[in-house]
């Protein structure tokens, strides 16, 4: 990473306190840059105003691609490329193509979605992303603010927000 960011973050002990803190921050009009949790917290998306993931749309497209690939290739092979009669059935025996078409639909959708997921999340084998605190994957819930070039007034305002909203620890880190 070439660009370094100064991050001020607070750690909370419980997801309920975290959700209240985020609502509090929203009321104050604070610009939360990131929230980290050890497990998926329900209601967090609404609180943060995150729009619904469009991953399933990508999955649908990959699936259709798989359907067309499988059905298309089988049809082409058995009607154009090398037609063979199996058991007196027509060359284009669509019902027999269904199982493989289904399997490839599922395969394309799954593999495509997983690759898309890791790509858009900036994750993958060998990739290291900066970790604010080791306990975030254990039992701490974290709200982070980007304070790059912020005035000391702003920083103090954020610190008092953390104290008001019940943060256990307030730290800053350059990532």
């Amino acid at each position: 990473m070439s660009k370094h960011n100064e991050v001020l973050y607070g750690l909370y002990n419980d997801e309920e306190i975290l959700l209240d803190a985020i609502r509090h921050a929203n009321e104050k009009g604070l610009d939360i840059s990131e929230v980290y949790t050890p497990f998926p917290v329900h209601g967090l998306d609404d609180c943060l105003g995150l729009s619904e993931s469009r991953l399933h749309i990508a999955g649908f497209v990959y699936g259709i691609l798989g359907t067309m690939t499988a059905f298309g290739v089988m049809t082409w092979v058995f009607t154009r490329e090398w037609p063979i009669i199996f058991g007196g059935k027509p060359y284009f025996s669509a019902p027999a193509f269904i199982p493989i078409t289904f399997e490839l639909t599922v395969l394309f959708a799954c593999v495509g979605m997983v690759i898309t997921f890791y790509t858009i999340c900036g994750m993958g084998p060998g990739i290291t992303n900066p970790v604010l605190d080791d306990r975030i994957t254990d039992d701490k819930f974290c709200i982070a603010f980007n304070v790059d070039g912020a005035s000391s007034d702003t920083v103090n305002g954020l610190k008092s927000f953390f104290k008001e909203s019940g943060a256990e620890e307030i730290n800053s880190k350059t990532i």
Partner: protein, 471 residues
């Protein structure tokens, strides 16, 4: 926020756990040196694996003449084992996918290990068709690719080819699903580790940090993968059953096969999950996460699927008689009273009678009883496949071709070898990965942990409300 407490639902996490305690309990087996029992089990598993590999190499060197298959009985232990292992794999996907769609919280305690089991079982299964081909170095011929033999394509109308696609898709999807679930937990282990282990888990965790948006996508991905894996798992054993049902052998050529195979697969899979989990929870001290409630739930699934299998057996017998088709009638008469009567007897007693004991709640919640029952079912389901395959082939249309078949030491060795592969992988898995899904257990703690839920908490809440009311 107080969750709605049910008087019926048992807590799924015991011991008044905190989030940190959950991390400690589940991560610690990966951080300590292995115990004596693990080392003994590992040596045993690796020896079996080694023997299996030797037998496989012998088979490849000499050809499958080292197996006592003959012109009549072309499928013996190999395909029996293949179907048995594929079936075992089904429980993992059922727990992780179908129970996710049904929002069953008890899946969180067992899904990780069950999915791992699926992957290892499918590896064992895929081995058999591979070596059964005889010339394993030409195994890539089963995939359709442009080649210089014409190009000559594979037969897309053949159930055996559908099987190639079904098994490889199943393996890939299960692996992706399992690994994506593991990534956040690997990050948890990474953040506790130091030195080389930190680097190792850093690699495995793909750079997971736990951002809100990433969790949202992760959940969306899990849900869609579950939605895709659900019809997939049903299709896989359906297609395996087509290998038999589309042939013209009496006893195989039946429309009941797909649902009957799927039910049997889930039945045997849950038995194997129980065999593994009862030992794992004891050795790794995970009794608070894999509770009696989990075991009872699984036993209920076994009871249901076992009964479906039983009904299928009886339906087959009835239809054979009712069809008035003499070959079909003979096939079933032969299964029950013919040369392989003992395997039919084993199948019926282990699969149909044994699970009926689970109607009793006491037995469903008995760990010792459940363990023995799970072994019985594993054996019974192996017999089922043997009955369907070898018994049926041994007495086909032509009496002059009738024969008998006993496996050679090579075939038995390969089967023992797959048990070795399976347990070696599973034992390594318990050392490297968190055996219970940490993040998922944490996410259900407040709705299913014993300090928040269960009959006692319910009674206490009710008393509190009554007191308030009286005042």
């Amino acid at each position: 926020m107080s969750a709605v407490i049910s008087p019926i639902r048992e807590p799924l996490v015991n011991g008044h756990k905190t989030y940190h305690q959950i991390t400690e309990d589940i991560c610690s087996p990966t951080e300590k040196a292995p115990g004596k029992s693990w080392i003994v089990a590992f040596i045993l598993a690796v020896s079996c694996l080694g023997f299996g590999v030797a037998c496989i190499l012998w088979t490849i060197w000499q050809g499958i003449g080292t197996w006592d298959l003959n012109r009549t009985i072309g499928w013996g232990w190999d395909i029996t084992n293949f179907v048995w292992w594929v079936g075992i794999g089904h429980a993992g996907t059922l727990i992780s996918a179908i129970l996710l769609l049904f929002r069953q919280k008890w899946r969180t305690g067992v899904n990780r290990a069950a999915e791992a089991m699926t992957i290892f079982a499918v590896i064992c299964a895929a081995l058999f068709p591979g070596i059964h081909m005889g010339r394993i170095w030409l195994a890539f011929f089963v995939f359709p690719y442009p080649n210089t033999r014409g190009p000559l394509w594979v037969n897309f109308n053949s159930p055996l080819l559908w099987d190639v696609f079904a098994i490889s898709t199943y393996f890939t999807v299960s692996l992706l699903f399992w690994y994506t679930g593991l990534v956040p937990d690997f990050a948890t282990v990474r953040d506790r580790a130091r030195g080389f282990r930190k680097k190792f888990y850093n690699f495995l965790s793909f750079g997971w940090t736990g951002k809100a948006k990433h969790w949202q996508r992760w959940e969306a991905l899990s849900l869609v993968l579950a939605g895709l894996a659900t019809p997939l798992v049903l299709s896989v054993h359906t297609i395996v059953s087509f290998d038999f049902a589309t042939s013209i052998i009496p006893g195989w050529h039946t429309t009941i096969f797909p649902p009957y195979f799927v039910a049997g697969a889930i039945f045997s899979g849950f038995a194997m999950v129980l065999t593994l989990m009862l030992i794992t929870r004891k050795v790794l001290k995970l009794e608070d996460y894999i509770t009696l409630a989990h075991i009872e739930s699984m036993n209920k699934v076994i009871l249901l699927t076992g009964t479906i299998v039983g009904v299928a057996y009886l339906t087959e017998l009835f239809i054979a008689w009712y069809s008035g088709f003499v070959y079909e009638q003979f096939a079933f008469y032969n299964r029950a009273t013919g040369i392989y009567w003992w395997s039919y007897f084993g199948m019926m007693s282990c699969n149909v009678l044994a699970p009926q004991f689970f109607w009793f709640k006491k037995l469903r919640r008995s760990i010792v009883f459940t363990f023995f029952m799970s072994i019985f079912i594993n054996i019974g389901m192996w017999f089922e496949r043997f009955v369907i395959i070898a018994t049926t082939l041994a007495r086909d249309y032509l009496p002059s071709a009738w024969s008998y078949y006993i496996p050679t030491w090579v075939e038995i060795g390969i089967f023992v070898g797959t048990l070795g592969i399976f347990f070696t992988f599973f034992l390594l898995f318990t050392r490297i990965a968190p055996v219970v899904a940490i993040a998922e257990v944490k996410s259900i703690l407040k709705t299913a942990g014993d300090q928040y839920t269960g009959p006692e908490v319910y009674e206490a809440e009710k008393r509190k409300k009554q007191n308030e009311h009286a005042q």
